[in-house]
Structure formats: C-alpha cells, structure tokens
C-alpha cells in the first residue's frame, strides 16, 4: 500500500535511493483517520479539574488590584491564581532560547499572567480551577480587577512616533547592540551593511522603491491551545500539551515556575497545527499553579476567540525597499527599512526579516535597517518563515517594477540576478550550493508559465521567496526487535508526517523497508533533548539523527554477525539489507540476524544525536499565480496556481507537496483576506473563523507543484527543510497578478476587494470616475 502523487519532480542530483522518494502510508495514519489519535484537548485524568483564564478587556491598562474572594466562594471553585503567584525571575535580563528566537523570562512570565499591566486585549490576568468548565467560566465573572485604562497604540509607525503611549517603563532602545538609554517603544534597531550603497545607487540606470504595510495575521491552526498539568506531592510536575517542542515547553514552564528542568516532564500529545504559534507556552504554567494549589490535575483549553486575541500572531509591519539596476539589468544596490510590531513584548522576527530581505538576489551593495517595536497587540511569535513574507512582498514588487523599466520578462530579470553559490548576503552569510536559479528556470520552463491567459481582467504574477532553515539539536534512539523490525523513538513532535520522513531515512540507511520501522514521539523523560518542530528542521536534523542511529545499529549488528561467524568484525560488511564476510563466504539478512540478538549479547539499541551548525540548506520557492478580478466587486478569483520549491531531496514527495501547497495557501490568505481588524480602543473586532477568514476549499483551485531537488551538501541525503519558504511568495505574486489584470498597484495587505475597487476607481480618469 503506497500513497499516490500528482506533482512533478526535477532532480538535479545524480542519486539512487531505495526508500527515499517513495510514498509509503504514514505510520500514524490509521490513528488519525479513525479518530483514535489523542490530541491535547482529549487528555483526561482521574480527578481532573477544569481551568479557565480571565483576560483583559482593555488593550492597555494598569492593574491596580485583583480581588478573587467572590470567585473562590462559588461552589465548585477550587483555586484562583494570578500573576502574583508566579515567582519573580532571578534577573530581569535572564533569557532562554526557544529554538526560533530567544525570549526573556520576565516577558514570558508576564505574558502568561499579567502582573503590573495588561498590554493587550486578551492578556491573561487570572486563572480558575473548578469541578467543571462551566463553573470555572462563571467564576471568571466574579473576579474583580481594578484597571486604570490607558491609551493603547496598535500601529507600528504610531508606536515609533515621539510622544506615543509607552508600553513599558524602562524599555530603552538598543541601537546596534548598544543601549541608548532612551525610553521608547522601539526595543532595538539593527543594521546590516554590504559594500557601498551610495556608490551602488550612483551606478544605477534605474531605481524603484516602495513602502508596503502588512496586517497582523494569525497562524490559524484549527486546534486551540491546551494544557493539562499534574503537580505531584514529591514536587515534580507532569504536563500534557500539544506543543511544537516538548523540551522547549519544558524549558519555558520550568523557567516561568522557577523549577529545575529535571522536575518538569512534558508529554507531547498529537498537535493540531502550529506553524510557529505553538512554540510558546500559555496555559501550562497557570494549569500547573492550579494543580499545585488543589492537589488535583487541571486541564485548560482555550476558546477560539482567546486563541486569536491571546496567542500568536505574526507582526503587522511597514517595509520600505529601494533597489537600483544598471542599464544591462544587473543590480547595483539595495536599501531596506523594516519595522515590525512585536506585540506586547520585544522579540519579533524582524531579525529574520533582515536576513531574508535581500536573500534571493546578488546585491553587490546593500543596507538593511530593522526595528523591533512594541504595540498593544498579543506578543507576536513565529509564523512559517517568520518575517520573510513581509519583506518578499516589498522586494518582489520592486523587482517587477525594475523589470518593467528595463523592458524585461520578470522571470528572466530575476534569473539575471539570482543568488548563487559563493555569494555573500548583506547579513554576512555566504551561500553554499542553493537552488534559487533552478527553481526560477523550472518555473520559466513550466507549462503553466508558457500558457496564455484567456480573458479580460485576468493577470499573472510570479514571485520568489526564501527561508534559511535551521539545524539545532535532535536525538533519536533505535531498538532492534527480534523479528527485524525497529522501534524508533524521536524527540520531534510530529506536526505533519515527520514520523515517516524520519523513519524513511533510518530505513534507507539500513536497507530496510519503511514499514519495518515503528516510529514514535518520545516525551522529555524518554528521549534526548530535541529542539522545536520549527524552522523546517525536523526532516533535516532529526532525519540526520536517525541516519546516525542507523549507522550505530549497523556497527553493533556487524559485531553480532562477527560473533555468530566467529570472525573479526573488520571482516564483516553490510549492504542492502545483508551482512556478509568480505571474502563472500558467509551471508545473513538483517532480519535473520535480528533473530539472534538475544543469544549474542542482548538488546541492540542505536542512538543518534546531532547539532548541525554548518550545512543547513536554505530553500527557495517560486509561485506562479493566475487570477481574475471582478471589476464590479474587486473579488479576486484564483484561476491557476503553481508552487515550485527546492527540497534538496524530497524524502516523502507527497508530504513535501503538502508543505508547498499548505504554505502557499496560507500566503494566499495573508495576501487577500486575513487581518486583525482593530477598533480605536485596540479591540480585535473579528476574533472568529467567520470574520477572520482563512481560505476555504471553495476559494482555491488545485495547487500544482514542481519539486526541485538541488542536493544540500550539508546533509547525508541532501535534504533541505521545505516547511516554510512557500508562504513568502504569494502576496507579491498576487499583487503582480492584480496589477497585470486591472492596472492597480496595491501596497497594503490584505488586498481586500474594497481596496481593489478603491484603487481602480482612483486610477480612472476623473470624468469616468464622476460618471
């Protein structure tokens, strides 16, 4: 039984594999189509209480006092906790690394339960445990919070302005790492410089520039956050939660609660989507406090509205980009100014945006200024290729404008300037072998790009996007069963089929079948430290750990064969599922030898642990979008859409296609529909899936895919992470398509129907507009 595929694959490596590139059924598939897979909200423990969280109705307020006695008096209520119940961190500056960015413990703690100030509507201020969720909810209404309401600021430029409401007393701007001592909502300013930008612009025959604005959008996973905690009388804490990283959750929970990590065990359940948004812990610390207080396990599950108002999102932004080209069409200089709304606390992915902004092209001279700005919105967290989509929207628009000025095809113009091996980026990174050129060439040569549009008000746009991917730490253990199957335990939570992509790399290394490997996700007590499922790192790094574990198993099994044959281990070799002596005299299959492990020394347990620093291969994605605009309503219909992406090696092509399709569709939602609509008081006015509209299947055509395989030299099988780059191109590709369809250049996301109609009306000659 194998999966089927529809997309195309273009392999630029010369490689033959037995398991890699096939499409086995995922190992956890039956559990997930029958409803038996256990997600965070499905956890149920004996004697369990139910928690609810009280959230600030104000976007910006000082908390003068919280009175909980009336809530405590409600029958069925067992405990109420507030921010005062969390221990103060040892120092204000203590920082922990979350895998996709560091976080200051004080801010994590204040975000979990506010102390002195509520900094966004939806900010948690207290939590209740009761015998039922309904009683807990009733109790919330009995908690009295004395707020001094303050003026909020929810826009990045307004927050940067002199005299803006200040979120944090004592927050001073760090410029290029140096503390200026100046109080401001600007937490930091960073600059990257390459070459001489002024000289570069002086050489330019043409320049183009834009300023774009992007709305706050949410990761939009269908499963709301949850956390179940059991505090034992022996002082240890066990937490069940759907998280992108059990160890990252362990680290945060321990830090916020002031516990040593060894006292906290995190059991990751199945996880219903994350996209970066389930790296932070929200509910686990209050559930733990409530459990400690009551001596009973406590489960808290978020509502959808709280998930919108209290978690995620990705920053709103303002991005300015200017690029120069010489008369031959070669880039001479680039200049970028990037300001991100970090939300309530500093730490937006603006640094990643600065790394990505000029990552796709060969800029001899560049300067990038980036600003991390606090506003009265939820603390932003990673969202698929964090920061890259914002800047791709700006850069790709400018690239299109320059192609037009030069009279060149936009794809050909990009190919003239594509990033390549050996190029130094403005942030200092020098590229190893990358697939930007191959992706563009495959897009250029695709049937889609060569096809003609068929009607009025139709347009095509093409854009290129990038994500650098991360390596980080992973651990895998492999225990050989006597029937020749293998129990594989890995530390990466499986958010989209990675049990299988890891197991396949293990199977390939030993010449076994993917079906003979039984992969499972360990908890923090059963597997070595493993970083988050994020940064497109799991198939890359945890797959590499599985490769190492397979090598370890191979070495141990060679010794067993040597024992059975009474020869020196150096005389035994292994190939394609069989051990044999080098003289060819003796041979035994893996399964047959596995049957002899009990008699030759007992269990064979292999292990692999990796922390790849160099060798992480970035991934490029090209999207081609054909659209039609309804000139009356401004509605954009997507007629055809193709995603091209470099996977290095697609371990399981169906799940690679799924990442490409899912990422592009999130980018389409970001481009056309999605935004946090704020009232003047800083309240999100659309915190339901009805009003915060993610794409439905009726909004989309099939998403065609072409997987490009330019092997990553930094991985045993040439793998590049594929989870993220495809979200970056859609806003730029769709804005180009809209411009080509109806002649309007939209610089604000989302490109809503009303904005398109307004732009079309403004573009008409006055006499026509008046009529």
């Amino acid at each position: 039984m194998a999966a089927s595929g529809n997309g195309q694959i273009r392999d630029f490596g010369d490689r033959n594999f037995k398991v890699l590139g096939t499409r086995p059924i995922r190992h956890d598939g039956v559990d997930k189509v029958t409803g038996s897979a256990v997600y965070g909200a499905d956890v149920r423990l004996p004697g369990m209480l139910f928690g609810q969280v009280l959230r600030s109705p104000h976007a910006h307020a000082r908390i003068r006092a919280i009175h909980t006695s009336k809530a405590m008096a409600l029958p069925g209520v067992r405990a109420v906790v507030t921010g005062a119940d969390l221990p103060a961190p040892a120092s204000d500056d203590e920082v922990i690394d979350l895998g996709e960015g560091p976080a200051r413990i004080k801010y994590l703690r204040d975000n979990v339960l506010a102390t002195d100030k509520a900094l966004y509507r939806g900010h948690a201020v207290a939590a209740v445990a009761a015998t039922s969720p309904q009683v807990a909810e009733e109790a919330l209404a009995l908690i009295e919070v004395d707020y001094e309401v303050l003026t909020p600021v929810v826009d990045v430029l307004a927050a940067m302005a002199e005299g803006a409401p200040q979120l944090h007393a004592g927050l001073t701007t760090k410029v290029f790492g140096e503390d200026t001592g100046k109080e401001s909502n600007i937490a930091s300013q960073v600059r990257h410089e390459l070459g001489d930008v002024q000289a570069g612009f002086a050489q330019a025959a043409f320049t183009a520039e834009t300023e774009v604005h992007t709305a706050t959008v949410h990761q939009g996973y269908i499963e709301p956050h949850n956390g179940t905690a059991q505090w034992s009388l022996d002082g240890s804490l066990t937490v069940w939660t759907s998280t992108q990283g059990a160890f990252t959750a362990q680290k945060q929970i321990a830090a916020v609660l002031g516990l040593p990590v060894g006292r906290v065990r995190v059991v990751p359940t199945e996880i219903g989507g994350g996209f970066g948004g389930k790296i932070p812990s929200y509910l686990e610390p209050p559930a733990a406090l409530l459990s400690k207080r009551t001596g009973q396990p406590v489960k808290i599950v978020m509502t959808r509205a709280d998930t919108f108002e209290g978690t995620g999102p990705t920053p709103g932004s303002c991005v300015r980009v200017k690029i120069g080209v010489d008369a031959s069409g070669k880039l001479t200089a680039g200049e970028a100014w990037i300001a991100f709304e970090s939300g309530a606390y500093p730490g937006s992915p603006v640094g990643a945006a600065a790394m990505c902004v000029f990552s796709c092209y060969d800029f001899p001279n560049a300067v990038v200024d980036s600003f991390d700005v606090v506003v009265n919105k939820p603390r932003s967290f990673a969202y698929r290729a964090p920061g890259s989509t914002h800047v791709a929207f700006a850069v790709e628009k400018v690239m299109d404008e320059l192609a037009e000025k030069l009279g060149k095809d936009p794809v050909h113009f990009r190919l003239d300037n594509t990033a390549k091996e050996g190029m130094r980026r403005s942030d200092g990174v020098v590229y190893p072998r990358i697939g930007a050129k191959e992706c563009l060439e495959v897009a250029r040569d695709s049937e889609h790009y060569k096809s003609a549009l068929t009607g009025p008000n139709q347009g095509r746009g093409v854009a290129l996007g990038y994500w650098f991917n991360i390596g980080y730490k992973s651990a895998v253990t492999a225990s050989v069963n006597t029937d020749g199957t293998v129990q594989l335990v890995e530390g990466s939570t499986d958010i989209g089929g990675t049990r299988t992509s890891i197991a396949m790399q293990f199977a390939e290394t030993l010449g076994l079948a993917a079906e003979d490997i039984n992969p499972s996700v360990g908890d923090t007590s059963s597997i070595g430290y493993t970083d988050v499922t994020g940064g497109s790192r799991v198939t890359y790094a945890t797959g590499w750990a599985a490769y190492e574990a397979a090598q370890d198993v191979k070495a141990q099994m060679i010794k067993r064969a040597a024992l059975v044959w009474e020869v020196d281990a150096a005389q035994v070799e292994y190939d394609d599922g069989s051990f044999r002596t080098k003289d060819g005299g003796k041979s035994i299959g893996f399964k047959e030898l596995a049957g002899k492990i009990d008699a030759t020394g007992g269990p064979v347990v292999g292990q692999g642990s990796v922390d790849p620093e160099a060798g992480v291969g970035g991934s490029f994605s090209v999207n081609i979008a054909d659209i039609e605009v309804d000139p009356e309503t401004g509605k954009v219909s997507i007629l055809r859409f193709t995603a091209v992406q470099d996977a290095g090696k697609a371990i399981h092509p169906s799940y690679v296609e799924g990442q490409m399709q899912g990422g592009s569709v999130q980018g389409i939602g970001w481009a056309l529909n999605e935004e946090y609509s704020y009232t003047d008081e800083g309240r999100m006015a659309n915190s339901t899936f009805l009003d915060y509209r993610i794409p439905t299947c009726l909004d989309l055509p099939m998403i065609e895919t072409i997987i490009v395989e330019v092997p990553n030299p930094g991985h045993p099988y040439g793998v590049r992470g594929v989870g993220e780059a495809s979200i970056a191109p859609p806003p730029a590709a769709l804005s180009a398509a809209i411009k080509n369809a109806v002649g309007v250049n939209l610089t604000e996301l989302p490109m809503r129907p009303d904005r398109i109609v307004a732009a079309m009306t403004a573009a008409r000659p006055a006499s026509v507009a008046a009529g």
Binding site: A3, A41, G272, G273, G662, C697
Partner: protein, 156 residues
Amino acid sequence: MSKIHVTCQINGEPQEFLCEARQSLLEVLREELGFTGTKEGCNDGNCGACSITLDGVLVDSCLVLAAEAEGTQIGTVEGVAGAEGLHPLQQKFLEHASLQCGICTPGFLVASKALLEAKPNPTEHEVRHWLAGNLCRCTGYDKIVRAVLDTAGQGS
C-alpha cells in the same frame, strides 16, 4: 439543576446520557461519552472539525444542543470504519496524504462521507462547495479534494 435524560443511537449502538440544558452535543460526545475523535476547533459553527451526522444530515455538533439528540441516529468519525476495515475514504485520505496535523480530518471524513452518500459522483466544484464548511490550515485542500474525487471514481 436537574439533568435531561437522552436516549439515542451513536454509530448504530444504543446510548443514553444525562445532560444539562446548556450543553452542546459536541461537549457531551467528547466529555461525557468519550467520543473524542470529534474535534472542537471554534465552538461556533465555523470550522467543521466537530462535523457529525444527525439522522443522516451533516451538522456541526457544537451547534446542536445535546438534549436535541433524543431519539436520533448519530454518526461520528469513530463509526466511519467498519468491522471489515477502513472506509474507502479513509484509505484514500491515507494514500493521497490528505492530512498533515490531522485535527480537521475527522470532520472532513464525516462531511465527505455524507457528500458521497448524497451525491455519489460529484464534480470538483461540488466537492469544494460541499466541504467549504470544513477548514483545514495545513494542506491547502488539494489532496483532500483529490482523495474525495478518487473515492467517488471507484464507486464507493
């Protein structure tokens, strides 16, 4: 507060339960009866993760009061597979890799089964129209729609 006594059938088996007047059928299925295959994504009828059939009609169980289930036949994801094995839709969802995180999958399977029972040979547009009430954030829907069309093609 006195509770309401409800008798119904779930996946063909007789069930009875006590519920409060305010409780949704979703809450009772998950919290009282242990049918946790039915998922909660929004609790306001906008995501379809809690899709079930009620007397053969596709509904969001978060929008049905548990007390309304009296005398009804309820179908959940737990009843999609039979004693003989996976339903063809479940098989096609696996073959097409139609799920990533899997949280929306039960709802899509229940909704797709209801579609094919109402309309055995739907067009792509009909599939997309029928499934527009089920949100998936991972897949971009391509592989879900293909799995449903492929299942219909084999005449299930």
